[in-house]
């Protein structure tokens, strides 16, 4: 056990128990501990009533996102040593409704993901599950970066547009739409464009760029959205100038 400690200031909210408060906990400091380790220490040894989500502890599942000293972060990747001497303030991700303590309601996010059809759509799909759709490394390279998303929602917490416009589809879902639109095996682009070109889609984004800054997987959702805008504008003018061409 280490002899140094660090102070955690944790956001507490119990809906049946009045407004939110901050509660301080003194936890042991270890060089190789992340904020999630400290929260688990609190839960196991100090206060079992503290609620938070986590699962993989290795930056893969995307469930441990919280505000660490005001920055949207994966708590399993946020080392205590980077926030010393403390105190370290841990809050639920902003822009999401808080259910309890550090747990936010992700239903809105899940619905937005669903809107953009984040899966391969085939027009010629005749239910043959053994069909193979071959892809070259170059074709893979076009969308690979956008496919690294772990749905951690840090980008939604960093986005000021999400903070004002409830229905904005948002960075991760729009990046995912672009990921499938760029996939040579996919045929659902038109269906997705109808969603992402509407008012709550790409045009709501003002390229603040903070989503890409906080993304732990370097997805660059801001880039994906700007690319979609460029493509959208290009398609619009193409249709305007060649009205006889069929809408593809």
């Amino acid at each position: 056990m280490s002899d140094t400690t660090v102070q955690l200031e944790v956001f507490r909210y119990r809906p049946d128990n009045g407004g939110p408060t901050y509660q301080s906990y003194e936890v042991p400091y270890h060089d190789d501990w992340v904020v999630l380790d400290a929260l688990n220490y609190v839960k196991n040894y100090i206060d079992g009533s503290l609620s938070f989500r986590w699962s993989c502890r290795m930056g893969v599942c995307g469930s441990c996102g919280m505000q660490v000293n005001g920055e949207p972060s994966l708590t399993c990747a946020a080392f205590l040593r980077d926030h010393m001497p403390g105190p370290i303030r841990v809050e639920p991700l902003v822009n999401f409704p808080v259910e309890r303590d550090l747990v936010v309601d992700i239903n809105g996010f899940m619905e937005k993901l669903d809107h953009v059809k984040p899966y391969l759509v085939r027009e010629d799909d005749d239910g043959d599950l053994s069909a193979e759709y071959v892809q070259t490394p170059t074709q893979l390279d076009r969308y690979k970066q956008f496919s690294m998303c772990i749905n951690c929602m840090l980008c939604y917490a960093a986005c000021p547009v999400i903070g004002r416009v409830d229905d904005f589809i948002g960075p991760a879902a729009l990046a995912l739409a672009q990921r499938y639109n760029l996939d040579s095996r996919d045929q659902g682009k038109q269906m997705r464009q109808d969603v992402i070109f509407q008012n709550e889609g790409i045009w709501e984004c003002t390229f603040v760029g903070e989503c890409s800054e906080v993304c732990p997987k370097h997805v660059d959702p801001a880039g994906a959205i700007q690319q979609a805008k460029l493509e959208g504008a290009f398609d619009y003018y193409k249709r305007l100038l060649t009205p006889w061409a069929r809408r593809s």
């Binding site: 809906p15 409704p97 808080v98 309601d105 076009r142 903070g163 690319q227």
Partner: protein
């Protein structure tokens, strides 16, 4: 019953931290650019009137306070331009005809373009001044 707590950033988002504030300021630079465009259009308008009106307006533009304003507007315009150039690569498709385009190449092209246009304008102004 459950009452989820609302923690949206809201309209004051840009006061939350330094990087939000910088983005806000970067967007606000367009107000200065707009002001300079209006001043320039007025200059053209005055040039079509008598010499006295034109000279009076030109003196106004050269007033020390106005010169400070032009310099601030110029600094903001440069900042806006450079930050725009730096983020441009992520806004463009990563491949053209199956080949990856290096970000440095896209940025370099833009700076080279800006330098070329600036040089041409300088030469043109110098040529007009000499004739």
């Amino acid at each position: 019953m459950n009452r989820p707590l609302d923690r949206r950033l809201g309209w004051t988002w840009w006061t939350r931290n330094g990087s939000y504030f910088r983005i806000f300021l970067r967007e606000a630079t367009s107000a200065f650019i707009l002001a300079e465009v209006v001043l320039f259009m007025l200059l053209i308008h005055k040039a079509g009137q008598d010499a006295e009106t034109y000279l009076a307006y030109r003196d106004f533009l050269w007033h020390p306070l106005m010169v400070v304003f032009h310099l601030v507007a110029f600094a903001f315009a440069l900042w806006h331009t450079i930050s725009f150039f730096l983020i441009a690569p992520s806004a463009l498709p990563s491949q053209v005809a199956g080949r990856r385009i290096p970000a440095a190449f896209i940025m370099g092209q833009q700076f080279a373009g800006l330098a070329a246009v600036t040089l041409l304008l300088f030469l043109w102004v110098a040529w007009v001044g000499a004739t």
